[in-house]
Symmetry: C3
Subunit: 321 residues, 3 copies
């Protein structure tokens, strides 16, 4: 088996600090340049998007990123494929690898499904969300958005509020944000809170559980998580209205936010549940900026997976460790 030139992206915790910084710098480059000038850097290569869970946002964000770089993109949805014939993910990946496909973006409802495959395939794996485990590109695009707004994450107070237990986004942030110098406050319904100690994160001392009103008052970033209405129905909270009153970012709570604080959300938003409708596109909100940055971040991630390492040389010198 040939050693792949590019690299898998399985989660945040297995990334070197330096790699995170380089990915962010490259994403910032795309944020400024929007699209390649001149010949497309990954033209003629193939990537596949394997989505075993429904998704608009992440799938399209990857597809735009891939096509901007010139990649040929194969789209795979679980319904119309041989997966209905019971093929394993490993065999699907080996099939695509044999056809010359060099990268696979995978979303799957099973946590850590990619880890045991990483050493067994040459095709580069990019985790686009696996169960409740990790969502590394969401972490990177969120951090890019924070850095653009605040300059640095050092000392930044980030409140993450909502269904933490079922959130791969939250888990990626618990691993990554403290390593970049931010402090994390967790808040939400008791049954949805997780214990940072048990998650085995890197800097548990930078993570606290707080009541929602206090977290919102202290935060520089109020990151509201999506309530999976389709999963909980009545089980974890009695109604969307009651959830909003108890844990949502209402207009009243938003008035308690610091003057310079911002609102973020991984989207799609349940308007009027996690966040009051009027706040979603308000001046305080970076939600649309997050979506824009998703494309630039995924361009950097695809380049890391496919483009060889020479493109990272200019960043190596400038990375501030």
């Amino acid at each position: 088996m040939n050693k792949p030139v590019g690299k898998h992206l399985l989660d945040i915790k297995s990334l070197e600090h330096q790699e995170i910084e380089m990915l962010l710098k490259r994403a910032e480059h795309w944020s400024e340049q929007k699209s390649p000038s001149g010949p497309l850097p990954l033209a003629g290569k193939f990537a596949v998007n394997l989505f075993f869970e429904p998704s608009t946002r992440t799938r399209f964000s990857f597809e735009v990123a891939q096509k901007k770089l010139g990649l040929n993109v194969l789209q795979f949805s679980a319904e119309s494929s041989s997966v209905t014939k019971g093929e394993t993910l490993y065999d699907t990946l080996k099939t695509l690898e044999s056809m010359g496909v060099e990268a696979a973006v995978v979303r799957h409802r099973e946590s850590r499904i990619l880890e045991p495959l990483a050493d067994r395939v040459n095709i580069r794996l990019i985790n686009a969300g696996d169960g409740v485990n990790a969502h590394p590109t969401q972490f990177l695009l969120d951090v890019l958005t924070m850095k653009q707004h605040f300059g640095s994450l050092k000392g930044l107070q980030v409140a993450i509020i909502g269904d933490l237990r079922h959130s791969r986004v939250a888990r990626s942030h618990l691993w990554g944000l403290p390593r970049l110098g931010a402090d994390v406050m967790l808040s939400g319904p008791e049954q949805m809170i997780i214990d940072p100690q048990k998650e085995g994160v890197a800097y548990p001392e930078r993570i606290r559980v707080l009541p929602v009103d206090e977290a919102i008052r202290r935060a520089d970033v109020v990151m509201m998580l999506r309530i999976q209405l389709e999963r909980h129905d009545g089980e974890l909270f009695s109604s969307p209205e009651i959830y909003q009153r108890q844990y949502g970012l209402t207009l009243e709570r938003a008035e308690q936010m610091k003057k310079e604080a911002v609102i973020m959300h991984p989207a799609p938003v349940n308007r009027g549940v996690e966040i009051a409708d009027e706040l979603v596109e308000s001046e305080k909100s970076l939600i649309l900026k997050q979506m824009e940055n998703g494309v630039y971040t995924r361009m950097a991630v695809m380049e890391r997976a496919l483009g060889g390492m020479e493109i990272w040389q200019p960043y190596l010198q400038t990375v501030n460790m």
Copy 2:
């Protein structure tokens, strides 16, 4: 919000007469040239096709048009997306806009769903059929086909026959054909007829309701509408055979057509129901020509949405108002 360069296409009634003429001239240009020579005019840009109803013809026609112009195309089908998570069309459009997608082609079962969104998004909206309201690109390709065949629409007698009540195609023609100088005859089962007066069309005096045999005898264009067999089953007519005998274009009725008259249909055809099987590809039929013109028309529509207005300058001088 930046003012978009290109323009929405929501329906026919909101188009200036001059814009209709320019779109037709540009479509005719593509009808002659088939494909761009030299660099693709919209290369590097992104469009999305959002189809909330099944469609082969219109979706592929747009996709061919888009790819001929060099657009990157995202395909969205309602089943495999976050729409299953209850996201609104507005939020889907804002998401795509944030990612840098510049045009959205939308088919939806709800009438007038795009109108309230037009002022709220920067992404350019193109109506590919909304409920029973409008199907503007079908109107334009039909008119292009008539102009190619007859030279002008002035005084042209167009019979539109079938389920007028449920037809967005018919409604677009009721608005558009009389403005271009054609007279319209409507015919069909009593329960499927609409009252032009109540539709608020521009030139009600150019629209008449006639018995099917008389309409066919008088017409230059016999446009048969598709019976939605899947919607009516037995409710509005007792059987396909009886429908054909009463309102279909049978071989006997086709013999009553004027010598130079032609047959059109927005397709897909129920062969042997609206039209006798033998007539679909007969010499009198322009149905395949309509499909071909659909691509050229949609190329012009995509350019109008995305390409900036400078390409229309040469046509401005030649448009005959």
Copy 3:
């Protein structure tokens, strides 16, 4: 109707021997060169993949081949199209042809569905598997794989084992392998065996039915067919375990294979049913090579359908009849 430049590919039996050789030579060319150097030979042209049955492998293999050659690819899946409105395949093909699409790759559960259409459409038809009838590109890629490994098919002993009755792959091989000089041994459960005499093949004297152990001992190529677990459940064999013991390529049986013999399978494999898990990627297995060759073979097939005949001139002189 204009005479098409390229050619349909409906099955193996209607191919001239010379055409098979040319396709194999062109596929071997792509096997060496991997991708076109310089401008893409089919850039700007359109092909459609019409899959009325689920498929990962064949659909992606065609898509990679098409995009490597520069084709614009339309993807059609039965679920989200006007086929739900009852349109016939003929009308779908005429529609796509009218739009300027030049080739249609079709998979369908009905045998010989393309034959009656071949003379009625200009769009070039490529059979990607029709019912139990034929799978010509699978035949070609298998033969390419055998030729690369053994140099020639003359005198090669090929055992085809499993559900022959429902296998379009087997039927294509029964027609094609003997014509290229190979001898075929058939084996499998009694209810799944077919009678070569009744199939009307070209060289019935080169086809024998043998017990599975004997076939495996004699074979140069052991080609295991997929058991359609989803179709048979309990009807034709009592359990996957019993099937494996009676007809599968177990480790014990693999030890009886000749030293130079190889394992093939059209895939996807039911690991542990037709073939022991450990054998699938063993040294004896050419299964991944088959998948790789699938792309090169389909590049040649797409060129034959679309590219004009001049590219075949260099091969005409070298073909050894």
